[in-house]
Amino acid sequence: MTSYRLPTGGLVDRTAPLSFTFDGKALSGLAGDSLASALLANGVRLVGRSFKYHRPRGILTAGASEPNALVTVGTGGRSEPNSRATMQELYAGLVATSQNRWPSLDLDIGALNGLLWPFLGAGFYYKTFMWPGALWEKLYEPFIRKAAGLGRATYESDPDQYEKQWAHCDLLVVGAGPAGLSAALAAGRAGARVIVADEQAHAGGALLSETATIGGASAPCFAAAMVAELQSLPNVQLLTRATVFGWYDDMVFGAVERVQKHVAAPQAHRPMERLWRIVARRALLATGAEERPLVFGGNDTPGVMMAGAARTYLNRYGIAAGRKAAIFTTNDSGYALARDLEAAGVELAAIVDSRRQRPSDYRGKARLISGAIVTDARGGKSLSSIRVSHDGRTEDISVDLLAMSGGFNPVINLACHRGGRPVWSDAQGAFLAPESLAGLALAGAANAVTGIAACLADGAEAGARLAAELGFAAAPDSTPSVEDDIIAAPTAPLWSVPGSKVKAFVDFQNDVHVKDLGLAVREGYGHVELAKRYTTMGMATDQGKLSNVNAIGLLAQVRGVSPGEVGTTTFRPFYTPVSFAALAGAHHGRHFQPVRKSPMHDWAKARGATFVETGLWYRPAWFPQPGETHWRTSVDREVRNVRANVGLCDMSTLGKIEICGSDAAAFLDRVYCNPFLKLPVGKARYGLMLREDGMVYDDGTTSRIAEDRFFMTTTTAYAAGVMNHLEFCSQALWPELDMRLASATDQWAQLAVAGPKARAVLSQIVDDDISDAAFPFLAAGEVSLCGSALRGRLFRISFSGELAYELAVPAGFGPAIADAIMAAGEAHGICAYGAEALAVLRIEKGHVTHNEINGTVVPSDLGLGRMVSAKKPDFIGRAMLAREGLQAPGRAQLVGVVPLDKADAFRSGAHILAAGAETTLENDQGYITSSCFSPHVGSSIGLALVRNGAARHGEEIVIWNGLRGEITRGRLCAPVFVDPEGGRLHG
């Protein structure tokens, strides 16, 4: 295959060849190439297959809007389907693979779809595949799904790292073409903090493809000089390979920087991509304009290319995209290409200009056919000829490159991300950005300015103006003189050409052609949004960058209205697709969420604890001893030991809140439904917190440490929520109360010492008298520890129902105190116990947790109705608690459940049915909220919320777990299985 690279020219490094493969074939390009340019240089024209008809497709553009040249780049965990060859920089060893073809790109069975096209018009699938109904999932859909999609995703993990960064600036300039660079310079020289972001590897934009002379220098040299000056300014940051993908509220822009997508061997210490959130006081879109394709028969044939792209491949990459070219244009931009092609010695067979008026300044040798159109392009997998129609005649011209230009669409996507709608301009023949955008302006081609000099001037003016708005004294420089600048003034759009014999594509990737749009209108889907959804136009990976405006023009034609009346579909992020990896950053795998560890974590780990995730926390679940191979063995032992001797459990994950101030008691009295105003100093009290709708929110104990100081504990799960809630109450509801809150969860290690021998153990640690008389049940206060070595807080509270204490010490002393307790307890048979044993102990006692406090229970449902103060004038939840439905009979109430046969086990989540009742949802009586094996009872036990449960103790029921096929006969009982009188707590 002979090279299409010209002997000279371009910005590529001819001394640095790079080898790469495409579909396994070894090819060679140059440093500075894109994958697309390298493929073109090697004469590769057929690059991909379209979505629906599997049409052969080549390279259409040289940039971000490429709909056709999508390939999978890379292998293994680094493979990336649907990569635009036009945006992928070439590197040594790059592996590219074509997509959506079988068995090969050249011979693709899927292309048979093309033969069926009369029956596969827009939305055909909505009208068929309905009979017989069962066949949809079994036959039709699997077939369709198999055919769908483009590239194949890997299931392998990504080996690379990603990171995120915030940036703040006075002015964000999006796009480093002539307008963007001159704007950045104008603002940067004035001292504004400027960030310039450009999606290309090199700043310069259109200047890199330009042959005009600017201020005496070549366009790329002029761009390089501007870039050099920008880089010399400390207040300017230039980001290349960085796509600004979205404009969000409050002038926040999202951008993704492809840090290492262009390197052969990514460095492990650098990110593959970096996500930027840029907060800008002002922003300027200098995003250029997108050239419009022309819609004629076979316009998707490989070898048909955008005129601007052909010019980029010629001037920037030194490649002739064909041996014999023709140009089909509606405007003067085609003549810039004509001039450059001829200068490069490429044969130019014809310029087909849809306008009657001959441009006066074309002096080239090519045949100029005015008032003419190309009706068809032919050649299948590679363009061989075009049919030109002019003056009532048609003629065929053999060419292998057709460059087309249908005018320009300013790239206004970002300007519309916050709800503004584009405005149609008849004068420009294009949609322009919404008017009066706060904080955001446009310049250059994005602002419908044409010509290099005008873009430079417009950018400089905009940069200076925006800087001045922010108080920076800026004046635009005088614009340099530009020679050989071909200015393509706007011309009337040519939405479609008449007389095409074959399909004329509007949306290339999704294979939407002119007739599809006509059909959509005919069937009532003429609204642009309906047409989009019905035909899929604009829904491919390019999001309609090339196709949407043409589609709107065609819809307008069919409907007989102006494009402005048709309007656009909605521009939404992302401007170009952004990887999951970049958006996720470092938050995946084990780093998906932070880890919280109790101060006792390492202590428990050293004792062999098995840990369990509890929200963000890891908690010890049980402490297996030598010889214990099943978790139940360990848990049963721990439970028995606590009931028989004594155990130590880490309670540090409970939320702890310090509340102080002269109104602290009054505050607690309002946030709990039970009274706290008169809680004596040195006492703890169980408190029940409601939501304003009357439902139980959380529970815990609160102790009065001093007249004006309380210590609250919350459940582990709701610690953060309760803190937020209390802050709300104190700041928003009752700021007049003299009190303050502080979270102390991480400040204290808190240890439960529970069991009949708890006092015997603890009295060896605590210096103070903790006899029942001196420190009775619900006593609380500061104590001296280990011979005045340390002070802590001791609470005589019990979750297990045993004689128990909770001892809080400053977090760092937790392990030492725990060691001391374990040593003191050795003679008493102490053991460490974990969350599972804790759960068994509390279920045996019928203490509720958030299994029971499920957000739909009121205190009386839990048997705690008497806690609700009837005397307090106000507390959170008081008013709504009075509603009929919250007090009505039939509510689910807390009960205990035991199996009739002790050998029968049952589980949480099983439902309760009345004995003998039919298994229907109407007969559902409730469900098991918590269950465990109780060593004390010798069987499964459970807590349940059951309709009228409080009045049904003793009733035989069915514990129904149809999901697991476990149907168990059981009996409802009081929700306390151990020591119902509570004698063990006291004494």
Partner: protein, 416 residues
């Protein structure tokens, strides 16, 4: 014209020139028996069932934009009936049964695809909660299966089992759950209603509700006054604004929920999977795009667009669940406006005005409910009494204390 393989074939032979509009573009009549405000899925389904099941054809659907321009056109297309509460479950199961026969019923292929909905769980507490849910489903005869870790792994080998922060323990699957081509639901109902005589009037914004003697007499619209005997509101997302025209305040806040689609890839995920350790759910469309979403942004909004922080949050959860998503690309994000109700459940009820009916508060669960919502709302409008499965969706349940709170989050809509 009836749609079938034969009609596609015959029309194809004739160059597809004979297809008729799927629905007419009528001028509004001066008066209708029933006016439905809102040409979304629920409004169109209501009109369809009014005409088909209850013989009421002098009906207009008024749509301020184009039909299906609200949430039926911007959701993640999931259908399921895996509800917990007796007030909800039978309704969603009715909806599922209607989905199962829908295409043949309205002669439009909406691609109802029952490829399964799998909810992953990552802790004992989550497992128990899903056990409770699965049993509630089973009690009502809805299919539900509890999968252990190895069963999930066999089905979805590419989830993160080895390196995850919250290891997957198993999942609850409803195999009859799945996805539906969402836009086609609006179109199918519109076509079915239109062919039965319903007027679907687009570009017709309701600006006022005219009342005399405590009854609605009609609506002021951008196309003039239109009279009616009964007025039915099905404008989720904007329910509060429409209800305000009748001086009603609703137990509803409007919130934005974002959704996303990736570039199209070859088949990757077959059914619907939801993450239990973060807000993320995903399925793959028949075109190949991964359609996914997460939690609502959390603030009141009428703008159909969301926040970048939420985008990142959702995608983080996605990659945490499926590491192989890493190098795929997110193509597009969009936002829909949800009627977030005060207990997370909807309202289908009469109002304090005798001939004004309300269908609202669908939170982010409205799409799957579309058929049953339309059916039950039509039942209520036609018969004046609630359809049995929707009888708990009362407007006064909040005042009386009979909330339907699946999540137990109470009167804070952004937590549902």
């Amino acid at each position: 014209m009836r749609y079938s393989a034969l009609s596609v074939f015959l029309n194809g032979l004739k160059g597809n020139k004979s297809w008729q509009p799927a629905w007419r573009d009528p001028q509004p009549k001066p008066h209708y028996d029933v006016i439905i405000v809102g040409g979304g899925g629920h409004g169109l389904a209501t009109a369809y069932y009014l005409a088909k099941e209850f013989g009421s054809t002098n009906v207009a659907v008024l749509e301020k934009g184009y039909i299906g321009s609200g949430n039926v056109g911007r959701n993640t297309t999931i259908i399921r009936s895996n509800y917990l509460l007796p007030g909800n479950n039978p309704f969603y199961e009715l909806s599922m049964k209607l989905w199962e026969g829908l295409e043949q019923d309205f002669n439009f292929n909406a691609m109802v695809s029952q490829r399964g909905v799998l909810n992953l769980f990552h802790s004992d507490a989550q497992r128990d909660a899903y056990t409770r849910r699965g049993n509630a489903m089973r009690l009502h005869g809805v299919d539900a299966d509890l999968l252990d870790r190895s069963q999930v792994k066999a089905m979805l080998p590419f989830l993160d089992y080895d390196n995850s922060r919250f290891p997957i323990q198993g999942g609850l699957i409803q195999r009859r759950g799945g996805t539906v081509r969402h836009d086609a639901v609006a179109w199918g109902y519109a076509r079915g209603a239109d062919s039965r005589g319903v007027d679907i009037i687009q570009n017709c914004e309701v600006t006022g509700i005219r009342r005399e003697n405590g009854r609605v007499t009609g609506v002021e619209t951008s196309r003039g006054f239109i009279g009616c005997d009964r007025l039915a509101l099905a404008a989720a997302g904007n329910s509060s604004r429409v209800a305000a025209m009748a001086e009603m305040r609703l137990p509803i806040e409007s919130h934005v929920l974002q959704a996303f689609v990736s570039e199209a890839i070859k088949p990757f995920i077959d059914g619907v999977v939801t993450f239990g350790a973060g807000h993320f759910y995903v399925s793959q469309s028949d075109k190949g795009g991964l359609v996914f979403g997460g939690d609502i942004d959390g603030y009141n909004s009428y703008a159909q667009r969301g926040n970048l922080a939420t985008v990142e949050h959702v995608v983080e959860a996605g990659k945490a669940m499926i590491p192989a998503l890493s190098r795929l690309r997110v193509l597009r994000s969009w936002g829909g406006i949800m009627d977030m109700s005060m207990d997370g459940s909807p309202i289908i009820d009469r109002t304090h005005i005798d001939n004004l009916y309300l269908n609202a508060g669908w939170c982010y669960g409205g799409f799957k409910a579309t058929p049953a919502s339309g059916f039950c709302f039509a039942h209520l409008i036609a018969k004046g009494t609630p359809q049995q499965t929707a009888s708990a969706f009362r407007l006064d349940r909040f005042a009386r204390g009979y909330m339907l709170d699946e999540k137990g989050q109470g009167a804070q809509p952004n937590l549902h």
